[in-house]
Structures are given as C-alpha cells and as structure tokens.
Amino acid sequence: MRILATVRGLWLTLLRRGRAERSLDDEVRAYVDLLAAEYEEAGMAPGLARRRALIETGGIEQVKEATRDAWVGRGIFTFVRDLRFTLRTLRNAPAFSVLAVTILGIGIGGATAIFTVIKGSLLQPLPAVSDAGGLVTLEPVKDGTLRYGFSYLDYRDLREQTRSLAGLIGYDGTSMTLEDRRGPRRSAWVSYVTGDFFSVLGVRAAAGRLIQPADEEAANPVVVLAYDLWQERYGGDPGVIGSTVDVAGYPLTVIGVAPPRFIGAMLLYPMELWIPFTTVPKLVSAPGMLDSRSGRFLRLVGRLAPGTTVDEAQQELSLLAARLADAYPADEGRGIRVFPGAGMTVEERTALGKLPHLLAAAVGLLLLIACANVANLSLVRAAARRRELATRLALGASRRSLFGRLLLEGAVLAAAGALLGIGIARLLVRSQSIVRTIAGMPERVGLDVTLDRRVLIVALAVSALAALAVSIAPVLHVMRVPPGAVLKDGAAGAVRRRSFGQRALVAGQIAASFVLLASAAIVLNTFRRVLATDPGFDARGVAIASADFEEAKLDSAQVMAYRREWLRRAAAEPSIAGVAMASVVPPAPWVRPGWVFRGGEEPPPGARLDGSPAGGRRAYVDVVSPGFFDVMHVPITAGRGFLESDDNGAAPVVIVSRRLAAAMWPKENPIGKMLSLPAAGGRRRPAMRVIGVAGDVRLASIFDEAPPVAYMPVAQHPEEDVDLFVVRSRSGGGALEATIRAIGAAADARVPLHTRVVTEMIDEQLQPQRIASAWIGVFGAVALLLAAIGLYGVVAQGVLQRTRELAVRSALGASPRGVISLVIADGMRIAVIGSVIGVVAGAVALRVLQSRFAGVSVVDAPAAVLAAAAVCVATVAACYLPARRASRIDLLEALRCD
C-alpha cells in the first residue's frame, strides 16, 4: 500500500507534472477563497477580506514551493531542473564548453588508448592456449644473470626428473623461407617444438592433426600450419594436408592446422609454421646440435602439476639444475629461474615495456595539461561569472547550492569529455596499425585490444578528477570574495591580486609542452642523423628484381643461361648504368649470419656448429657477381674486386668487408689469407683466398652498425641460391621497374620477376620510427595548443582586470605599440619561466629517450631551439589578441562602464 502510494506519487510528480501543478494551484487558491469567504461572513468588505486572506496565506508561490518540497521524487525533479539549467548555462558559453570537452576528450581518449595497448601487449596471456594461468617460464641463469636457452639434453633430463611440473615443453622460432606451388616464395616464422608442445599447451587442431611425440623420430619430417597462413595462402583448403611445402629448401609434409588465434608460445613472434625440433639440424645444417649440452637453443615452458605453486616448482628446479651443474662441465654455474606465465622472456618483457611507457608518459603529461587547462579555462570563466555568482548569492542562493550547481557543471563537462574520450580511444584502438606504432610492436603480434573495464575505470577516474578541477576553481573564487565587494567592483575592477596559481598552471603547461616538443624534435633529429649516416652503399636509383626459378621449373643449366641473357640485355640497355647479381641486397633484415673460420681452423665436416666453435665468427654471406660493388657503390678499399675470370675453373676467392677483416686478422694484411665457410648441409667447401677488402655495408638493418660480411663470386658457387638482379639506373629514375620487367620478359617470359626499389625498402624499415616520432610530435603540438589556449585565457583575463590601468596609460600617452608589448611581455614572462622548467624536465626526458633510441645525443641544441621557438610563437599568438584589445581601450568607455 505504502509502496503503491509512493509509486503513484512519483508518477504524479514526475510524469503528470502539469496536472499536479494545476491541482496544487487550485487547492491553494481555494484556501484563499475560503478564507476570504470566512472574513466576509464575519462582516468584512469583500475587497478587504480578500486582502486579509492573501496576507494571512503569506504568498501563494511560497506555499506552493513548500508543498512541492514534500512531494516524492522532488530530488529527482530538482536534479533534472538543475541539469537543464546547467546545460543552458553551458550552451550560453559554447566556446568554453566545446573547448573543455575537446581538451578532456583528447586527454582521456589518448590515455585510454595507451592503457589499452599496454594491457593488450604486456598483460595478455598466450592466445588460444587452455589454462594459460598454469604455465610457467623457465629462464636459465649463469652466475646470477639471465641467459638465453637450454640444450636439448638438459631439457630431456629436466622433463624426466621434474615432479612439480606436469609437462615441460621446449621450443624456439626463427624466420625461414617458405616455398610451395601455392604462392610467392616468402619468409615465414617457423617454430621448432618438442613433440608434446601442443598437448601440454592444450591446443587442438583446426584440421588434420598436430605434432606428437612420435613425430620427433619420424623419418618423414612434418609441419603444422597456422590458421591464418592456411586461410591466406591456401584458402582454407583441407586438401593441403598431406602435401609438401619447402621450408628453408627442405621438403616437409603438412599434417594439420593449428586453431584460430594460436600463435605459438612467443607473444612477440607469432608463428606461422611448427616443425618438430628434430628437423632443425637438417634445416640449419648443424647436425650435432642435439647431442651437446652447450647447444642451447630451446626456450622452456612448463605446466604446473595440480596443486603446485610457482615457489615449489622453483625449489625443485633449482635442485635439479644444481644436479645438472654438478654432473656436466657445460652446465657449471648454471641455474634455473621460474617465472609465472608464458609468452615472453624477461628480457623481451623489459624491452617491450619501454616504448609504451615512454608514450604513456607523454600521454600522461598531456592528460595533466588537459586537466590543468580545463581548470584554467574555468578559472577564467569564473572571473567573468563573478558578478553572476555574486548576484545569485546576494539573492539568497546558499553557498552549498551554488557549489552543487558548479559541481554539476563540471560533472556534465567531464561526462561529455569522457564520452568523447572513449570514442577517440575506440577509434585509436580499432586501427591496429596505429596501436602497433604506439607500442612499437612487430607486425602480426596478436594483440587483444578490446577496451575493458579496468581501462574504462581509469578513464572515469580521470574524468571525475577533471570534473573537480573544473568546478573547484570558480567555487574557490566565489567563496573567497564577499558578494558585496564583487558587485560594487564591477567587471573590470575586482581583485587586484594576480592569481598566482593560475600563472603557475600555465607555466607548468608550457613546461610540459616544451618537454614533449623537444622530445619530438630530438627523436626526429636522431632519425635524420641515421638517414644521413652513410649506410655503405648508395640506394638512389637502384632497383632489384628477384627471379623465381623454382616457379619457372628451370634446371641449373637453364638458370645459368637465363642469368647470362638477363645480364647481357640489361648491360645493353642505355638507361641502365650497371647491373649485377647477388644473393642478398641491403637492407635485408631477415638475413641471418653464418659461421666463418680462418683457413685451416675450420671444424671437420659434419662437426657441431653450436655454441661458439673455436676460431669461428659470425658473418653475413653475400654471393655476388663481379659488377655488384660498382652497382651498389660499395668501394673496394684494398686488393681487387671480382673478375669474370673468377669462375669455377679458377682458384676459389673471397672478398671480406673491413669489419670482417679486422675481426679475423687484426693488424694484419688480410689479402692473401684463407677463409673457410662450411656449406649448407655441413659439406666441406675448400677454403677461399681473400683477394680484396670491401667497405662496410649496413647489410641487414639500416639502423645497426655494419656487420662483418664475406662476399663470394656467384660463378664459383653454383650451389648457392642467387636470384636477385641489382640494377642501377643512369638517370636515377622512374621507369626502371618497367625496364626491368621488359628485360625479364625478353630473357625468358616464363620466369616470374618481383621488382623492388631499394629506397622504398629502406623507407619501409624506417616507417615505424618515423611514425613514432610523428606521434610524439603530434602530442607536442596538441600540448602546445592547449598551453597556448591556457596562456590566452590568463593574458586575456589580465587585460580585462587591468582595463582601467591600461586605459589610463593610453590616455597619458602610451602608444598602442607600447601597450601591446606590455601585455605580450606579461605573457612572455610566464612562457620563459615555463620553458626554463621545461629545459630541466627535458634533461630527464632525454635520459629516457637515450635508453630507448640508439644514437640520441646528450645535448641536442637544435631540438631545444626548435622547441623554444615553437613556444615563443605560440606565446605571441596567444597574447596578440588580448594585447590588441588592450591597445584599443577607450579611456572614457573604460571609466564609464562601471
């Protein structure tokens, strides 16, 4: 009954408002009428009686308002009314409202996106793995520091002896070439895994079957495809199971497809193929790697036995590691550390953590600027509204209700800002490429980038903070000043005291945007410096064409003929300055170095090439034709280049890069020395005589120092896969690719040619860094914009407050120029203080940058100057409008307006 009455009451007051109001009005008027009638009956004149009744009632509106207060749902109604009022107020100040919402939206959106990315990249468990929480990562330590990888023998011992782990798997991955009849030859990420890899991870096949322990020993090597690869390359065709694909030139039988989203056990390197690890020695020509305790090529992940904790597993594995260290000299001093979770090594986690944190710091700074800015804007507005608020106070509004109103205003702005922010965040997050750029992640990393509750809570907390920031400023303003003083003072007079807090806020904002701008400039400069460093070759006007002999089904004699024909035709082409062949053309980040030895020091054929074989060094190998050095503009600094006469009939020769020469024969003349490279499959290859030294080339990555390289003549190595034609254009230009295709078609139309322009390949490598620095630049620009708006507000308000003073100055003969410079100087003072703080803070930021980007110099004067110039321009721009207004103040107007 009671509840029913309440509901009815609510219904009446909220939804039948008009009726309730009419009824109330009738009732009170009836009361007055009846009272007047009483007085009339008592003998009073009708007019007098009515007046008496009205007086006694004490104001119809007041009675009605008091009665309304008794209504159920009165609070809701009041709130709605206040909300409407607030929206009206905000609509009346569209510039302020839009600005505040935009600022908050950018801040919240950016912050939310970054939080999401950090969460997606760092806190994500391995996808498509069942009960990923029960997995632990085993990391080897030697003498207290983390090392990489376990040997197969150690793995086998650990797996047999452990009781705390229900399963232990070993794996690692690398990039290898994938070739088959179904698509272009390309490099693919291949993971080699122990037989129980899939069963321990709890993964079921999407088609066919997955690798089992029996496959480790099987004579016929097998491969499992990733779901994505299966879909993209094979169109989801189940017929691919049972067919053969070549991985690193080695035929493997496809046995099945992994489930969707499964990327293996390495979060940063989503795998496309899985093979039993026993196949690896054949693929990488290292036959002995499985029989050695020092061939550490496996990452280990275990699944905790039911009821076992990570600590218990740690204790047991420490014990087992100690036992291994006692038993085998290779394991001396080595231990095992157990970490919860799987997917990344500790090292990877640390490295990956850096860039998102850097950008998170940038976004955090931005968020701070945004909040400070909104607070500042509302301070400016509060000053302008002082009269309004004071009037309301004077008319009897309680300070509490005023505070409530202002808080509501802040909340409305913050809510709108949060909504916009979430929209912006969704947009940012949905675009995977942007996310990857922000996070600095390699391609194809499986990211879980749905906005989640935690992230939203952060966003809401931020917006709540912003709401307070927005509302507290005007409240403090009003509370401090007695309304009388404000009303008397008028708009222009007011509190003389300059708001210190406000100026500090703006100075802080300028400092923050200075840091961001300087950081962007520094990263950009560093980047330009990388571009400016000589990579050791000249990419301009060079294109490559890779010929797919496999596809064309040419035998080796036909390949030779094709190469000769191609080179002959290209040499005859007038627009082509030079042509050559090579197995590797820089930049080639996918290429891996092999082992090289001084002549006579090479291990016997079939020996293990694990660990670091005595006398062996890692070097990249490039098999090239004689013209290569000319075409790439790589100088021969000593000895001679290759000649056409260095062919199969002549003594084997090799050219080493300066770095390789220095590494193999320090302080000796390398010319005439012998160098040995074991060929694929561990076959012996005669040692080669060094005939020349070539300049260093950044063969793999354009960012890294030039690695040691050994060049071998293509004519002496028919067994090597040399399928790249390198062409330098005479004009540096345009139609080169078309010319190349025409040459290819004329040589043999059956051979598919893929052409690339080398400068484009370099650009591709630079792209992530370029975008990253652009992002920091965008942050800086937005921050500066926000700071400029804040500065504008403060200066404009200052002008407003000093109207009379400035008017008097003008009247006393100050030129408009003088007034303008006076105001700008005022703004400049704040900007200079901000910049000084910015330089100090920038020094800290620099340290962070140095740890992240190679080659960042300690003092980057141009960057600082650039940032300072930007701040200067922004300051003048922000001050100019109010300054001009100040210079046009009319004295009479200024004095009269109060």
């Binding site: 009455a5 009483e38 009665t67 008794a70």
Partner: protein, 109 residues
C-alpha cells in the same frame, strides 16, 4: 501558531490525522478543526499545512477527492484511508506513552 505552545516535531502529522478522523475536510477546514480541537493553541498556516497534507497523501494515509464547500466553492477534500486510521491509532498510542513517560520523568522529585 501560538507562541507559548511550541509544535513538537511529528505532532503536526498526528494532528492532521486526528482532525480528519471524523469527516473529510478541505485544507482550511483541517486548519480550523485543529484550532478547534487544540482549543486554539495551534493555528496551522498554509505554508505548513499543505506540505503536511501532501506528504500524508503520498504516504497513503490520506486520500483526496474534489468536493464542494458550504458556500459552493469547489475544493480538494481530504479523508482518512484505512491505513491512515491505523497510523492514527499507532501514533496516538505512541504519543500517549511519550506523554506518560515525560510526565513521570518531570514529576520525579
């Protein structure tokens, strides 16, 4: 309202319920009835009366309907609902207890 007899909190609602216990009344009628039963000690002005009436109505203790006064003026008449009558009994008993307790307490010597 009389200066000498303060209206204790909660008493107004009780007085309104009591005033309506005999017959339905309009606003002014309730005011007059309270004056009558308190021997003129309390005169409830409209600023207190109407909020109380509306509050009690929304609690379901009073029901309202349109009616006509003696001099043919249409007005809103309030009457006690069954729940209101029960509430009046409860409140009266509680009040009587308060009065007893207070008297004994104050007469203690």
């Amino acid at each position: 309202m009389n200066d000498e007899t303060p209206l204790l909190p909660g008493t107004l609602d009780l007085l309104v319920l009591k005033a309506l216990s005999l017959q339905p009344l309009h606003g002014l009628g309730v005011s007059r009835r309270i004056e009558q039963i308190t021997r003129g000690a309390y005169r409830i002005g409209p600023g207190s009366l109407f909020p109380a009436l509306h509050r009690l109505e929304q609690r379901g203790w009073l029901a309202a309907s349109d009616g006509e006064s003696e001099n043919k003026r249409r007005a809103k008449y309030y009457r006690l609902t069954a729940a209101g009558r029960r509430q009046l009994e409860r409140e009266s008993k509680a009040w009587a207890r308060v009065v007893d307790v207070m008297r004994i307490a104050l007469e203690w010597s």
